[in-house]
Structure formats: structure tokens, C-alpha cells
Symmetry: C2
Subunit: 213 residues, 2 copies
DNA sequence: CCGCATCCGTCGGGATACTG
DNA sequence: CAGTATCCCGACGGATGCGG
């Protein structure tokens, strides 16, 4: 059964927290920022939330108008996705993530979902505006993503693209490590922890952009 | 004893929530946005948090570097105040409040602190840029505040000012009601639920600015 | 297998009383 | 005034069940 407690405070901040302040709620929103996801995908992205709590939160967030539950497109599997109101949380959640960079790392073992790394990548990226436009295909956490570098911006999209300069397959944590130290790219290629197809320098541009140059 | 659970997730968002995601934490931050406050003032502003939980949260937030506990200035009473890092939450908390405006109001009885109304006032205010600069003194929740209207902006400061066009004493909820319907100003004056001294039209400008014109 | 529901143990949080 | 001590309940977390 969903949580029903409230702060009993008419302040907008308190009312916002009545909606998305319960445990795991904002992490679910984080997961849905880039793409709708299924229950099992959310479980994989948030391995530390128990299934009953996840079900509770999803129901709550749906009842309160933050997310929606239904087939995104014709007769696909049922996915959870943000409503228009829920999407307005995006800049807030991203800002919270930027703020949290300065918070201490949790001790191992720590989870790291594909969405987390990609959101970080978008927000931290400072691509060279003079560099050539680049499109990379990413295989991350069992899904395919498209990353576009152009006009001094980095954008992530869920799904395949028709034309990519290169493709990279990695674990989210490995990609995170590479963003902290892009110079380790070749080594990671050699030891097989990542797989690169196509123009390696495109991947290199992505990593250096995502590391803030 | 403070909470020690974690999301065990290296994502910045999760780490931020490890710090300020526990219940009441962000409402404490809200209370400290405008001015440092003492324990008893926080209790009054957050009447629904029990003293032990408040003490726990304050200790946690202090340990994690969000707030500081000490005499703000020479030998005053001990107050809680935001650290530099904690202050970086300000735009996030304000944005959350703006988002929460569209969330349902909690059933009565609902609390409403002076800080809450004043933060809302600052964020919702759209003062007429052509109107004359105005300074109002506010007595709200047992404290004195200074509100300045100038250059199409509204700014709130804690404490007295030397020169004010008018002074208004009210309960936070009453002020909130007036911001929703500024035309009720005279009535509230008459029935004694507020007290105005000085230029009534200055208060009127404040209310209309705070109501988004 | 996916999408939950149920059961149960634990712990965070709420209310009250009390202390330096 | 500024918290602490205590008790209790509900939210949370883990495991398992179970229908589609």
C-alpha cells in the first residue's frame, strides 16, 4: 500500500516533497528522464530498492500525476513514463545531481545505472565548439543510446541511429571511469572491458567532452 | 542517533539524496534560506517535526557539511545556518517550491512558516518596473523582515531597516491569503487580523507585485 | 519470465515526557 | 531554551509466492 503521510504544510516546497519526497521517488524520476522504462528495467537500474517498495512508489507517482503507466506506442510493452508535469522536474533533478557531485561517494559496492552516467555526461559535457559534429552509438546497460556532439553541446537519445561515427559498448561504471580519465581508453579497449567499433577518435572526443575537456 | 542509510549509488543525484533526502531535511534548508535560526525557531516553523527528529536532522546536516552550528556573530545565541555548500541548494529548493505550487494542498490544519511565505513572495513576485522603489517592514512569525521593491525585483531581508514606507504585521497564513487576493487588504485591516502603519499604498504595491500583478 | 502481492523482520520517525 | 530518553507504529527492506 502506498505511503500516505504528508508534511501538513501548505508551502510549495513541502507540497513538492509530499509528492516526490519519499524514498526512491526522485531516483525513479531520474531513471525516466531519458526514456520510458519497464518495471524490470527500473529494478535493474535501482537494484537496491525492493520490488514492493518500487511498486508502491510507481503507484504513488502515478496517482499523483508525476508518471503515467501505459503502452508508450501501439501495443508495445507497458512502460512507465513522465507526465508533462513530471518532466518539469528535469532541471531540478539535474541540478541536484550537479550539487551532489561534491557529496562523498558511498562505499562499495555502489550501483550506477546507464541513465545516471548519461545524465551526468550531458550535464558535465563541455564539447569543443570547433570540433566536427560527432554521432556515437552507445550500448550501455542492455540498451542502445545515441550521443550527438555538435555546436558545443552533448545530447543523449534513447535508441539506435542510422548514421554513427563509432559505437561503444561498456558497463556504466566503466564509462564513468573513462569520463574521469579519458586517457585510459586504449587500455580499456585492450583488456576487453569495452568494445569499440568505428572511429576511435569519435569516442575519444566524446570522452574528453564529457570530462569537461 | 542520526540516520546512516544510503542509496548505495554513485550517481550524483543519489549522493545528493543521501545528504538531504531524509525526511524534513530540505524543509530545514528552506527555513535557513533567508536567515540563520535557533532550535526553537525551527521548531516553531516546523511544528509537525518532533524535537528528537529535528535534533537528528540538524546533527546529520551539520556532519555532512550542509549547515553549521555556532554563534553567527559575536556571542549571540547559537544559531543554525547554511554553509557555502548548503547555500548552493537555494536555487534547487526554490525551483522545487515553484514546481510544488501545482501539487494539491494538504488538508487543514496546514502549517505555513514565515520563511515559506517570503520565499514564495520573492519567487512569485513580478513587480511593475515603472513603479517607485518601495521598502516595507514586515512583522511575521515573531520576526522582523525588510522587503524591497525596486527595478522589477522583490527582495526579502531578515531584520529591521532604517527607512521604510510602511509596516505590516500579519500571520504568515494571512499574508498568504492576501497574496492570493490583494483586494482583501482593507477588509483585513478593518477586522484587525493585520496591522498596517505608514503608507498603505506601499503595502498594496507589495501585495500586487507578489500576486504576479 | 515479468509484474507485482504477501508475509515478515527491522529501523527510521512520530508523540510525549524529561533533563542540563 | 535546547535538546535527550523512551516507547510505539508505520515505512522500508528482503524473501517468497503467484497469476498472466
Amino acid at each position: 500500500m502506498p505511503t500516505s503521510r504528508s508534511y501538513w504544510d501548505s508551502c510549495g516546497i513541502a507540497r513538492a516533497l509530499d509528492v516526490v519526497g519519499e524514498r526512491w521517488a526522485l531516483l525513479i524520476v531520474r531513471e525516466l528522464l531519458l526514456t520510458p522504462q519497464r518495471f524490470s528495467e527500473l529494478r535493474q537500474a535501482l537494484p537496491n530498492v525492493s520490488s514492493n517498495v518500487l511498486a508502491d512508489r510507481l503507484r504513488e507517482l502515478e496517482n499523483r500525476g508525476v508518471i503515467r503507466h501505459g503502452p508508450a506506442d501501439a501495443e508495445g510493452p507497458k512502460v512507465y513514463e513522465l507526465t508533462e508535469w513530471g518532466r518539469k522536474l528535469e532541471p531540478i533533478v539535474r541540478a541536484l545531481g550537479t550539487w551532489g557531485i561534491d557529496a562523498p561517494q558511498p562505499p562499495e559496492p555502489a550501483a550506477l545505472s546507464a541513465s545516471s552516467v548519461l545524465i551526468y555526461l550531458e550535464d558535465a559535457a563541455r564539447p569543443d565548439p570547433t570540433a566536427p559534429p560527432t554521432v556515437c552509438r552507445l550500448e550501455l546497460g542492455g540498451r542502445v543510446w545515441t550521443v550527438r556532439l555538435a555546436d558545443g553541446r552533448l545530447q543523449v537519445q534513447a535508441g539506435e541511429t542510422t548514421t554513427a561515427d563509432a559505437s561503444l559498448r561498456a558497463e556504466p561504471k566503466t564509462l564513468s571511469t573513462l569520463l574521469a580519465d579519458p586517457s585510459a581508453l586504449e587500455k580499456k579497449c585492450d583488456d576487453g572491458s569495452i568494445t569499440v567499433v568505428g572511429d576511435l577518435s569519435a569516442i575519444r572526443r566524446l570522452l574528453y567532452a564529457g570530462s569537461g575537456r
